[in-house]
Amino acid sequence: MVPLSWYLALSAVLFTIGVVGVIIQRNVIVLFMCVELMLNAVNLTLVSFSRYLGDITGQLFVFIVMAVAAAEAAVGLAIIISLFRNRETLNVDEADLLKL
């Protein structure tokens, strides 16, 4: 059996890839995908803990996270579309009207 620590390490790596992606990427869609990756890393953590502890709560939590992520995706894409309509770019560096 694969030990718990491997799963935790994998999900930590996925989470970190997501964080780094959000920091260095400039395309809104890619940023958004990185956030989704972070959420899925969390799902992996929850599921592996749930299996390891023999407790069902973690798996239920994952369902709720997935539902929320779907709602977030819907709203996020709508926001991106309305920005694109007015600005015709997906580069976050060009969304700079409100800079200090």
Partner: protein, 477 residues
């Protein structure tokens, strides 16, 4: 688990249910009526909120305790924060009608989004489990992302919404990762269960709990806009429609503070020998550092702002810092009262700014306020009252709430008195930028071409009692 032990009691979630049903009803009214169902929408929203307020008042009869297998709790914190949230929602609904008709925006969605956001915030304030904290937080956040972008054809509003969305979901992921690690370390997501696990010293992996708590601190820190996680705040607050800025600076913030208190003071704060004490010391120190940083960053940057919405954004960062001072004492009541007073002042200030800014938020520079003091005395006087409240000048509720938080922290935690000293110095700095718009309003010449703004009856109904209550609650307390 037997069905009886789940403790299902629908009265325990009555406020949330009422508000969500109202939101759906508003959507239906909007779908089935012709254009101009504005009044019907607003009235329905108002009825829903008042009913919810009544059901919050009756929560005490349902009985203090936890319901739905510990997912939802009834306690004084929930009741107090729910009242704050509902007052905010009522004020926003009163103010929204003028905003929506001036800007020609569709009313149905706005009211139902406000209602959904309110139901999420109420759920957040009543959460007894990390799952409910997450769910409530996301219901409140996702609807607020949409509200920030409500002025769909305005590029500033789009940008504000996009920034809020990206950074908001980024921070949610941190919070969630923290929750997952906490679950792994304690074997439960129930806040009471976590407390017991720490108290009994049976933590499976103490390091995991430490990392989990740190991650959750980052997540909550983003949501309440504390430094160094505050960078999104000024942009989002400036770009969003003013009324929405008022809403998101008060309601969601108060609700997140409720959950933050519950998780950190309620669950993680178990100073028993060994790991509990170590966790306690670590997070208290972290909160103290964050509080000082937040106050200082907020106040110092606010000094140089030319735009009043941006200035109030930094001021709201500073206020999050003052409220965090209340955390170290572990006293719920001072933070709760602080958030109530702050919400009333802040939403009042944004209401006046909304009217003076006109459609499209054109006049939000402090220079635009030059000399209007005697031209529109009602609005200027109200704004002056709110700003003095935010500064914490004596006869107002702002002063009393600050006084409670600071004296409580001073007396109960002698080791952290430097925190109170920093807070007082910060309050003194803040007086400068709060008084500056008042000076500009009353002692500068009037800009040529100033046109008196229109103030509708519902707007006046929101602002006048709001400022009166604000002054009176200071005198009473």
């Amino acid at each position: 688990m037997q069905l009886e032990t789940l403790n299902l009691n629908y009265w325990a979630i009555a406020p949330e249910v009422i508000v969500s049903i109202t939101a759906v009803v508003i959507m239906l009214i909007d779908a089935f009526s012709k254009r101009g169902a504005h009044r019907a929408n607003a009235t329905t929203a108002m009825i829903g909120l008042v009913l919810a307020l009544i059901s919050v008042a009756t929560l005490g009869r349902v009985g203090v305790g936890s319901y739905f297998a510990g997912m939802v709790v009834i306690d004084p914190i929930r009741i107090f924060f729910s009242i704050t949230i509902l007052i905010v929602a009522i004020l926003v609904v009163l103010l929204a009608s003028q905003f929506l008709s001036d800007e020609g925006l569709p009313p149905g969605e706005f009211y139902s989004l406000i209602m959904f956001a309110t139901s999420g915030m109420l759920l957040l304030a009543s959460a007894g489990d990390l799952v409910t904290v997450f769910l409530g937080l996301e219901i409140a956040s996702i609807t607020t992302y949409v509200l920030a972008g409500y002025r769909r054809y305005d590029i500033r509003s789009n940008e504000s919404s996009l920034k809020y969305f990206l950074l908001g979901s980024f921070s949610t992921a941190f919070l969630l990762y923290g929750m997952a690690l906490t679950y792994g370390a304690t074997r439960t997501t129930n806040l009471d269960g976590i407390r017991q696990a720490i108290a009994s010293g049976q933590i499976i992996y103490p390091q995991l709990l430490m990392i989990g708590a740190a991650m959750m601190l980052v997540g909550f820190g983003f949501k309440i806009a504390s430094a160094p996680f505050h960078l999104w705040t000024p942009d989002v607050y400036e770009g969003a429609p003013t009324i929405v800025t008022g809403f998101m600076g008060t309601g969601p913030k108060a609700a997140v503070f409720a959950a933050f208190l519950r998780v950190f003071v309620g669950s993680f704060d178990v100073p028993v020998e060994g790991f509990g004490l170590q966790l306690h010391n670590t997070w208290i120190t972290a909160i103290a550092v964050i509080a000082i940083l937040t106050m200082t960053v907020g106040n110092v940057i606010a000094l140089s702002q030319k735009n009043i919405k941006r200035m109030l954004a930094y001021s709201s960062i500073a206020h999050a810092g003052y409220a965090l001072v209340g955390f170290v004492t572990g006293n719920f009541a001072t933070v709760a009262f602080y958030m109530l007073a702050y919400s009333i002042m802040n939403i009042g200030a944004f209401a006046v700014i909304q009217i003076l800014a006109r459609a499209g938020d054109q006049k939000t520079q402090i220079a635009d306020y030059s000399g209007i003091g005697f031209e529109v005395p009602g609005l200027s006087f109200s704004l002056a009252v709110f700003l003095m409240g935010l500064a914490g000048i004596p006869p107002t509720a702002g002063f009393i709430s600050k006084f409670f938080v600071f004296t409580n922290a001073w007396e109960s935690v002698p080791a952290l008195r430097y925190l109170v000293i920093a807070a007082v110095i910060n309050s003194i700095i803040s007086v400068y930028y709060y008084l500056y718009p008042i000076v500009v309003m009353f002692f500068r010449p009037l800009n040529p071409g100033f046109v008196r703004p229109r103030v509708t009856r519902t707007t006046a109904l929101a602002i006048i009692p709001d400022s009166a209550r604000h002054l009176l609650s200071g005198v009473d307390a």
